[in-house]
């Protein structure tokens, strides 16, 4: 599959995750979110940026439970719970946020 943004095309897997991590840019993230009818706010970016840092450090995209726990530790309990994260990312916080972060599908999501 390919993703068309501003006349450029980017290779993705069958579920829309970027094939090449290095293709990612914040504009691309905004465009992917808009295709899902989602506007990225500062709160969304906090999670997306966290995931990119996590991937950089561990070379995997974390499963939702791992993400929730890690967010809680980094950003506080009021953000490290599934209610808050599902409000931001209704299609599943790990799945959807990883997609916008340009990461592969999380390890432990089916």
């Amino acid at each position: 599959m390919t993703l068309e943004i501003n006349g450029q095309s980017f290779e993705t897997d069958e579920e829309g995750y970027l094939a090449n991590l290095s293709d990612w840019s914040s504009e691309l993230a905004e465009a992917m979110a808009q295709q899902d009818g989602c506007d990225l706010t500062e709160n969304h970016w906090e999670v997306v940026n966290f995931l990119r840092e996590y991937y950089d450090e561990y070379q995997i995209a974390p499963a939702v439970r791992v993400l929730t726990k890690a967010i809680g530790k980094r950003l506080g309990k009021d953000k490290g719970n599934s209610r808050y994260l599902y409000e931001l990312f209704p299609y599943g916080p790990a799945k959807q946020a990883c997609k916008y972060a340009g990461l592969p599908k999380p390890t432990g999501c089916v």
Binding site: I60, P62, A63, K73, G108
Partner: protein
């Protein structure tokens, strides 16, 4: 497996890793499958024997062979609530390695003010046999 998951039965899974980390996919696949199992609330422990002990060696660098250096991912085991990583002492010794050559893997104990605790337990061949025989499900990589 889905019926067992729904019934809430937690089994003791032991992932046995015997191969060197790079050159084949076994090590990386074994690690990912273990993380997926752990994400589904199974009781997951890891065992490293034979050339598998090289998987945990610190300072791995895959640039020259052009593959992803997934060794950083072992440090995520603790985040996935895997708290037991067994390494066979004899396998280390035969390869001229000791515990000091391994990555310092830790997990954060939620019940103990997030204190970092070591994941790696170096055990004798005899202890490893006991660990293997006490596990419900063995997966070999």
């Amino acid at each position: 497996m889905s019926e067992e998951l729904q019934s809430g039965i937690v089994k003791k899974f032991l992932y046995i890793n015997r191969r060197a980390p790079h050159g084949t996919n076994y090590a990386q696949e074994g690690l990912e499958v273990a993380l997926i199992g752990a994400a589904f609330d199974q009781d997951v422990a890891m065992a490293y024997l034979d050339d598998g002990v090289f998987q945990l060696k610190s300072g791995q660098d895959t640039k020259a062979i052009g593959t992803k250096n997934f060794s950083a991912t072992y440090r995520a085991l603790g985040d996935y609530d895997v708290k037991l990583v067994y390494v066979e002492r004899e396998s280390l010794e035969r390869r001229g390695l000791s515990e000091d050559d391994l990555m310092p893997l830790v997990y954060e104990d939620e019940d103990d003010d997030w204190e970092e605790k070591p994941l790696i337990h170096v055990v004798s061949a005899g202890e490893m046999q006991k660990i293997i025989s006490e596990s419900d499900v063995l997966l070999n990589f």
